[in-house]
């Protein structure tokens, strides 16, 4: 069973109204410095014209990262494309978030984030998600056609 296709969304608590396009040079800078360890950073894509879309996308070989606006809630989304354990996916997302905080002053909600499984065929249960993330896991009530998603709460 191929279970690497996890996604993590870490929510912004500030800079909600900052122009999305201001993150374009930030991501280009990351590519110039290949600033994300363990990732081959490739390109930046502007989806700021799309309602509640992926906003500004940073494409890497290992993952797609974006300043995401889904559901009208801005956050940093990390979607894994290459094999990795969920624990490592969460860690990679947090590493990227830390970089954004250090460079741009973005603050993230440390107590709560979302995990989703970008795979409609294979997906783990809430217990496995909880074990890997070390938090209280609540299935997110969504449209059954949407990807399986969980809210992870950490004390």
């Amino acid at each position: 069973m191929d279970l690497h296709k996890f996604g993590v969304k870490l929510f912004f608590v500030n800079q909600q109204d900052r122009e999305l396009t201001e993150f374009i040079p930030v991501f280009h800078g990351w590519i110039q410095r290949q600033a994300l360890a363990g990732h081959l950073l490739i390109d930046v894509h502007d989806y700021s014209h799309v309602h509640h879309g992926p906003g500004i996308l940073l494409v890497a070989h290992e993952a797609n990262l974006s300043i995401d606006e889904a559901e009208g809630r801005r956050g940093l989304v990390y979607i894994r494309k290459q094999p990795a354990r969920l624990r490592d996916v969460v860690e990679a997302a947090q590493q990227a978030a830390k970089q954004l905080s250090d460079e741009q002053g973005v603050q993230f909600n440390d107590g709560q984030f979302e995990v989703f499984v970008n795979d409609r065929l294979h997906h783990p249960g809430a217990t496995e998600i909880a074990e890997s993330t070390g938090g209280e896991v609540v299935p997110k009530s969504t449209d059954p056609r949407e990807r399986l998603a969980f809210v992870v709460k950490r004390g």
């Binding site: 296709k5 396009t21 374009i24 040079p25 280009h28 590519i31 110039q32 290949q34 081959l40 490739i42 390109d43 930046v44 894509h45 502007d46 989806y47 700021s48 014209h49 799309v50 309602h51 509640h52 879309g53 992926p54 996308l57 494409v59 070989h61 797609n64 974006s66 889904a70 494309k81 970008n118 795979d119 409609r120 065929l121 294979h122 449209d143 056609r145 949407e146 990807r147």
Partner: protein
């Protein structure tokens, strides 16, 4: 459980088999058993396209980075295996149902970036897709009746048609059944496998509207009724690209039952006489131009007489759409913003009480979530059908008019309630430097900027300006259809001092109506950052000096080219880098502008003959024989190896006899008759022996030997094929010379 197993019962067997073959070809490429050019054309014919930076290099603003992908393997010349690619998905006549929209949403989310991009030819495109995900992606689409076959490469591309077909007030008749029939008749047809370039068909219900844009297509059909009979005015040899050609009339009236065989005859003539080596001259427009339309007509008529009858020629599918709800009139409360939307996005159908609604999708993009929400709205308000448009939008049909306000509110709630469809706001742009290997300037970046600026002024604009169309391409190749817009732009570059500056060439005089009735001409190149000023300047002048109901084209013709250029001349000046460096980067891209990221385009596909495909299929079949042998299925291995030889032999025979059947006796007999002098006798004997003396028992040794022999036979077929290609080239040159 895999998707292949999960969906086995839902995928039509033939489609499933095609995808299995494609997946095997991926494995063979990974093993180095398929040449990279052949693999490139193979994936292109399944819609798997290259994307910018896939040569492993990218200019980061300061230097060119060499992207160190994990594997050195390539998926085409200069195309890294692991580099993200684009998947194009054909939507014949733009028609799809909610289930298909949902499947597209799922695959966009799981294998792409969660965005579905609608193209200027009614396709969908997904970006940043890994080649190894493509077979699964294709299976999931196949399970809902969508194929990606021949979406790219030197093949028949998506058959486009007017999105209002069947509900239009001015059409002669609904072209949908004919567009659909042609799309599926030509899909994978043996006669369309040997083109030197792509071939794009289009349908229109009437001549005077834009609809199918038939004048700019390789093959165009406009619905016409003559003496009470349905038929088409048929055009051939149009095309945009760097040098646009207006299509010529092939037939003023062709009865509907002659449409498919005529298309087949055109395909045969194009395959036989079209240019194969020089890609820049390989579209059918060049052949028609070279031969002259009269000679081309004669050749098509001659070819038509030789075609064996095919019952599919007159099998036109029933596609009548039924309204979901009773007709009604719009006499209820109107929410805020509704009237502006009604004015631009709603078309009153021929059928009273119903409307077609255009959902304006900014730059052709919608998210997977929006696609699912749209699927719900289609089910609730329209029924089972929605169509994509060449202006990168979606059209709901059969909306009961009283429900328009409710639909508007729901579209607004999902961020798709924007007004301005089909107006100056509805800017069309090709992918440009965002993802295209050939892009020079950022057409999408410019499109985004123009949309924003024009939106702010829309309500105070003169009505004549609101109705103008702006289209842009990132380079001269015209994917944004800039030639047929009122104001068109295509990306280019100029050097100022030691720096490159992104520019757009300005084109005026193009005509959207009359099926792309005339092509605009360039009046001057302006720096990208000045384009919004150019639009403002031109539109203001038009409003100020317009005489009566003068169209923009007439206005442009009246003031003349010289005056038009004078109008923008001061905007062509670029300030020095030291004074304003913003001119030296493109819209939405802070990197200093560079031409260094332009790669080799795949629009032209690779020059791979139909015979090469047949021989590649034979090799794949022989590889499958090896796999069967490995697991002890010796009878199956024997049958596959024998089949591989027949496949290769049939490929050769097909070069001389296009309608060769597949039955073994005919193939072997014809091969023997036609190729004995050209084929190495010891290798030919392998096929004859196996054909005449099938084994009564199957052992590991006998199967192994046959696999070895089949491989040698295929090698012999390659050598024989080279001789044949030389003969054919000489024959083609002789015909064209005559």
């Amino acid at each position: 459980m895999t998707w292949k197993e999960q969906l086995a019962a839902k995928i039509p067997p033939e489609l499933g088999r095609e995808i299995d073959i494609y997946e095997t070809q991926i494995e063979l490429r990974k093993l180095g058993k398929i040449d990279e050019k052949l693999f490139a054309e193979t994936r292109l014919r399944r819609g798997a396209y290259g994307q910018r930076y896939d040569n492993g290099q990218r200019f980061d603003g300061f230097q060119t980075q060499h992207l160190k992908y994990p594997h050195a393997l390539t998926k085409g010349p200069d195309t890294m295996w692991d580099a993200p690619g684009m998947q194009r998905i054909k939507i014949p006549f733009g028609g799809l149902n909610p289930k298909q929209l949902e499947a597209l949403a799922d695959v966009a989310e799981e294998y792409s970036d969660g965005i579905l991009h609608i193209t200027t030819r009614q396709d969908f495109q997904l970006h940043f897709v890994h080649i190894e995900d493509t077979p699964t992606l294709m299976r999931r689409l196949a399970a809902v009746g969508i194929t990606t076959r021949e979406a790219c490469g030197n093949s028949v591309r998506n058959v486009t048609a007017c999105p209002l077909a069947g509900v239009c007030q001015t059409e002669a008749f609904d072209v949908t059944p004919y567009a659909k029939a042609l799309a599926y008749f030509l899909l994978g047809h043996p006669d369309v496998q040997d083109f030197g370039r792509k071939f794009k068909p289009a349908f229109s219900g009437c001549e005077h509207e834009a609809c199918g844009l038939v004048y700019m297509h390789d093959l165009g059909a406009v619905a016409k009724i003559q003496d009470g009979k349905r038929g088409f005015k048929v055009f051939v040899g149009g095309g945009l690209g760097a040098v646009p050609y207006q299509a010529k009339v092939l037939a003023d009236f062709l009865p509907v039952e002659e449409l498919l065989p005529t298309a087949q005859a055109i395909a045969r003539v194009f395959a036989r006489l079209g240019e194969k080596q020089n890609r820049a001259r390989a579209r059918i427009k060049f052949l028609v131009d070279k031969l002259g339309i009269e000679e081309f007509k004669r050749l098509v008529a001659e070819e038509r007489k030789t075609l064996p009858h095919d019952p599919r020629w007159t099998q036109f599918p029933a596609v009548a759409e039924k309204p979901l709800k009773p007709a009604s009139s719009l006499n209820c409360d109107r929410p805020e913003g509704f009237n502006a939307w009604l004015e631009t996005n709603v078309y009153h159908q021929r059928q009273p009480g119903y409307a077609a609604v255009t959902v304006a999708c900014p730059l052709g993009d919608i998210t997977s979530t929006q696609a699912r929400q749209l699927a719900d709205l289609v089910r609730e308000y329209s029924g089972d059908n929605v169509r994509t448009t060449v202006e990168q939008n979606l059209v709901f049909r059969w909306v009961s008019e009283a429900e328009l306000p409710e639909l508007y509110e729901k579209l607004k709630a999902i961020g798709l309630g924007a007004h301005g469809a089909g107006t100056i706001l509805d800017v069309t742009a090709c992918p440009g430097t965002d993802t295209c290997k050939l892009g020079i300037a950022s057409s999408r970046g410019l499109g985004r900027e123009l949309r924003e600026r024009l939106a702010g002024k829309f309500f105070t604009m003169d009505a004549a300006v609101k109705g103008l169309r702006i289209k842009m391409s990132g380079c001269f190749n015209s994917c944004g259809q800039h030639h047929v817009s009122d104001i068109g732009f295509y990306g280019n570059s100029r050097t100022i001092g030691n720096h490159k500056v992104p520019h757009f060439q300005v084109l005026l005089g193009g005509k959207w109506r009359d099926n792309g009735g005339s092509y605009g001409l360039a009046i001057g190149s302006v720096p990208s950052k000045r384009v919004p000023d150019v639009v403002e300047r031109i539109t203001e002048r038009f409003v100020k000096e317009r005489q009566g109901n003068e169209t923009f084209q007439d206005f442009y013709a009246r003031i003349g080219k010289a005056e038009s250029r004078k109008m923008i001349e001061d905007l062509m000046v670029v300030p020095p880098y030291e004074k304003d460096p913003t001119f030296y980067s493109d819209w939405g891209d802070p990197r200093e502008f560079s031409m260094g990221d332009i790669g080799t385009g795949e629009c032209a596909g690779e020059i791979v003959s139909a015979l090469q495909f047949e021989l590649s299929a034979a090799e794949r079949m022989n590889f499958e024989a090896q796999l069967a042998h490995e697991v002890g299925h010796f009878a199956k291995a024997d049958e596959l190896a024998y089949g591989a030889m027949r496949q290769a032999a049939r490929g050769l025979v097909h070069e001389q006899w296009l309608d060769v059947p597949a039955d073994p006796a005919t193939v072997v007999r014809e091969f023997k008759t036609r190729f004995a002098p050209l084929f190495q006798p010891s290798l030919a004997a392998y096929l004859f022996r196996r054909h005449e003396y099938p084994p009564s028992t199957h052992t590991a040794e006998s199967a192994h030997r046959l696999i070895e022999e089949a491989q040698l036979f295929i090698e012999g077929a390659h050598t024989c094929g080279d001789k044949l290609q030389q003969q054919k080239a000489a024959e083609r040159a002789a015909v064209l010379k005559k």
